[in-house]
Amino acid sequence: MLDVGRHPNLELLAYSEVEKVEGEAGNFKVTVRRKTRYVEEDRCTGCGACAEKCPTAVPDAFNEGLGARSAIYSYFAQGIPSTHTIDPDHCRQLNGKKCGICAKTCQAEAINFEQEDRIIELNVGAIIIAAGYDIFDPSLIPEYRYREIANVVTAIEFERLLSASGPTEGHMDRPSDRAVLAEIAALEKKAKKSQKALDKLEKKFDEPSAAFYGKYQAGEYEGDEDRKKWADKYASHLKIVEPLEELKKKAKRFTVAKRLAFIQCVGSRDFRFYPFCSGYCCMHSIKEAVIAQEHAPETTSTIFGMDIRAIGKGFEEYKIRGGNNSNITYVRGRIAEITEGPNNNPVVTYENTRERKVESREFDMVVLATACAPTKGIGTLAKTVGVELDKYNFIKTSSLSPVDTTTPGIFVCGCAESPMDVPESVAQASSAAQRAAEIAFQSELEKEKAVA
């Protein structure tokens, strides 16, 4: 990323969209909409002072909604460019409220609430589409109860939980437990506030609330309006503290997730959704299981799959090492359903095809290896750019010209072409660059010929 940001031959137009493409190989005219960030790119140094002061909290898309960010934000800490962006849906100033705190904080004077989208035109010889993929939404599979059971997460969510810079700093805290902890924090805030009000009254009447309340309930202060208010306050305070104590007791028993299940082919190799194999998910489940066990050595993982497709260089070896050293068990089988057991534990019911038995097992957390879905905007993009899609909505190519689209001069690489892992995406990116350079070279030659 850094190299991209710094390379002299590379102009990066982030937060931008292609609106129109005209022309032909060697000479395309591309219209690009540069969406407004409400921040001047040449001024913003990416320091983040604004985000620190911004009072609006928004679920953090980068952390798969597992954490929060401000309304002015950089997508993630090491993002390139580091230019911050105001989220127009959440910013108070842009929604007619009084704020502008970021503008006051920014010493570089980069905030500009008046900034508008800009349209620019580019002249290019060749185009490479690298628009990637989307994560399949597993809530479409009702029997996995992804949205209903808190401790059933997607692999990408789990990736964020594993990350040292993620919302749990790499601890395997369970989402159900995190929800309770969040509730505790909210209740504690409330309790503090109501305790403050009580403190005042206790001072005034020179008596602890609890002792007073006993007498009050015994009918001692009948008709005393002031004391009635105190009693009401105390009663509502108890309504906060009592469940709070309950939750805290519960939270004491929380431990990190230690028994993990990974479910393969979620949405892949499935006629209802995507019949193809997404290629990389078997490996990322193994990787996630290995990392989880590195974090907490007592972690055990069970990977449920039809075939474990460890087909890259060193992959089969990695898979076997995972089994030998990282407490991973591979089970050949199809998952029938996931239900919720005691203590928010997901229970996986599956057919063990080796043993020819239907079995159920309880886990602390279940991770779904979701399919590589064609990216949502791909239809519009393909239409705008003028290339054909295959029947699944990946960009159409042929196996003998693996990065050529149906339109000369336009190339594709990575998961926009079909599901593939990082090394293959990187190799394909070089292939697409090569094809684009060939076009550039040929059109230079023609220009020279025309001059001569």
Binding site: Y392, S418, S431, E438
Partner: protein
């Protein structure tokens, strides 16, 4: 050097990085502290040293304060060192008289809750940086020309694709093939999945394009016997029947492919009733005997075992393809595939897998702990769904054997000084991020020389390797950072060659000089990793900007 102390004027710039540093460390104290350090004549704090304003302050101070060393204490050299270096250069100071101190990533960010301790650590870091800066010496970037000609080693589909790609961009290509004709594995194959393209026709088409291209010179029945030089300036001996030719080369692409494992002694292999998938290709090409009614294929023969732990990626695809072709040629035949995992990854393979089931190919999973038994006219296998052994009648057994490393790969590895992995395939520079580069600059990799791959992947890699190789060719020269190894003490060097053996980039060689055997550093190949200097027990080698005395000064400053 150290004793000309009076000459040295160091400017220290302390960056607040907004609140990223100033929010956690006591900047005023750091400023006071820096002022008192030896040779420091100027100290300035900036909100952002990297902003235009901050950079201008550095330039101004170099001129007005006559600074001859600059130290910036800020974020991390990973992102900002190039900027600060070049800014010094713009102000007329040699860019290598700059030193960066990391007080953000390695200090303020990790000690957010410990201002005092963090500030003390920052002081140590700054004191060390200043001590080193005082000893820095100017360096000049190293330039070297690049011969605009590529050598492609191996004329299979990978090598032919790479050759054409480079030639289409106007570069000269020398393509070396050890066999009589180009084409590689394709010459032995029948139809290619998933499109069922005729392998021979594809080979012919490519061979025609390659041999007809003005920019490509093909040597067949040829062998590379000697490779001298380094990126941009290789000098290669090529031996053919008509003698040895020597050619200057700029970059090298390795595409020597692989071969199919021959399963001697496994499952009764005899090449007749029990054959490999490669032999099956020929049987299908010649037209299958109509008597063949019952075929059993066994997967992972010689792969995914102790000796060869890897999965060869393409044999499952090949089996499915051939199973369908058998059913097509002999429609009343029965074909069963006995497998461990069907590796039909991706869109096209999985589609073919599904298709094959619809076309009647049967699949039986086997456990490697209880493998199938091949007998004369039947194969016995435990069927997990029925929970018992089954006997499958056979007229032909086909063994899916892995692609293994090419004959002579080791020799190539020694000639080019590039590594091979534990399975005998060439080892790329970085498994994820540099799949088609070797760690050594100027040498690239594609096709089954790297790892088994199908045609789609091989073609993509051929194009990709060409793309990577074209970068130095397009530039025509390379410029390297002068932070490299130098033979600082020639007399001390005994020419033992310990360092040569350890250098991961092939940047060292022993030469015979008037003073005897001495090590020589190939500037442009050296990456300044320091392995050699750390190894040399004679302390003859040293790394620019990381010399022993500079590092000692840093250590002393730390212990102060």
């Amino acid at each position: 050097m150290p004793d000309k102390k009076e000459d040295i004027r160091i400017g220290v710039f302390l960056c607040h990085c907004g609140s990223n540093i100033a929010g956690y460390l006591d900047m005023e104290e750091l400023e006071e502290f820096s002022r008192k350090l030896p040779h420091v004549t100027f100290v300035l704090r900036n909100l952002y040293t990297c902003s235009e304003g901050g950079i201008n302050e550095i330039k101004k101070a170099i001129e007005e304060q006559n600074l001859n060393r600059v130290v910036v204490a800020s974020c991390t050299p990973r992102t900002h060192e190039p900027l600060f270096r070049s800014s010094c250069g713009e102000a007329g100071l040699n860019p290598y008289l700059f030193e960066m101190v990391n007080i953000r990533d390695q200090c303020s960010w990790v000690h957010m809750k410990e201002q005092e301790a963090g500030t003390t650590k920052a002081k140590d870091l700054i004191r060390m940086g200043v001590a080193k800066a005082a000893l820095l010496e100017p360096q000049e970037p190293i330039m070297s020309e690049v011969q605009r000609r590529a050598l492609v080693l191996g004329g299979g589909i990978a090598g032919m694709t790479a050759s054409l790609a480079l030639a289409n961009r106007g570069y000269e290509v020398v393509l070396i093939e050890k066999e009589e004709s180009l084409g590689g594995m394709l010459n032995n194959l029948n139809k290619l999945s998933p499109t069922m393209t005729d392998a021979g026709a594809l080979a012919d088409e490519k061979i025609k394009a390659v041999t007809g291209h003005v920019n490509i010179t093909v040597f067949t029945k040829a062998k590379v016997t000697e490779v001298r030089g380094f990126i941009g300036k290789y000098n290669v001996d090529i031996e053919t029947e008509s003698g040895v030719t020597t050619i200057d080369i700029g970059v090298i692409v390795v595409s020597t492919g692989g071969r199919a494992f021959v399963p001697e002694g496994l499952y009764g292999y005899d090449g007749k009733r029990v054959v490999t998938q490669l032999e099956m290709e020929k049987l299908l090409k010649d037209g299958l005997d109509t008597d063949i009614k019952n075929v059993v294929m066994i997967q992972c023969v010689g792969s995914r075992n102790e000796e060869r732990p890897y999965c060869s990626r393409i044999c499952c695809q090949t089996a499915v393809k051939n199973a369908m072709l058998i059913r097509e040629q002999n429609p009343d035949s029965k074909v069963s595939i006995l497998y461990r995992d069907m590796q039909m990854y991706g869109v096209e393979n999985e589609e073919m897998f599904r298709d094959s089931k619809a076309k009647g190919v049967r699949y039986i999973n086997y456990d490697p702990a209880n493998p199938p038994q091949v007998e004369f006219d039947k194969v016995r296998v435990y069927h997990p769904l029925f929970g018992r052994d089954m006997d499958l009648p056979v007229d032909l057994v086909v063994l899916s054997t892995p692609v293994v490393s090419q004959e002579g790969a080791e020799e190539i590895s020694q000639l080019l000084r590039v590594p091979i992995d534990e399975n005998g395939f060439f080892l790329e520079g970085h498994v994820k991020l540099k799949p088609l580069d070797f760690a050594t600059d100027g040498i690239f990799l594609c096709g089954s020389a790297r790892f088994p791959a199908n045609i789609r992947e091989t073609v993509a890699q051929g194009l990709g390797a060409a793309s990577r190789a074209s970068i130095p060719l397009a530039k025509g020269s390379i410029v390297v950072e002068p932070i490299i190894s130098v033979l600082a003490d020639e007399d001390a060097c005994r020419g033992c060659g310990l360092c040569v053996a350890l250098c991961p980039y092939g940047a060292l060689e022993v030469r015979t000089t008037e003073k005897g055997r001495k090590v020589h550093v190939i500037d442009v190949a050296c990456k300044g990793c320091g392995v050699c200097a750390a190894t040399c027990y004679q302390h003859a080698l040293s790394i620019n900007s990381f010399t022993d005395n500079q590092i000692e000064a840093q250590l002393e400053a730390f212990l102060d």
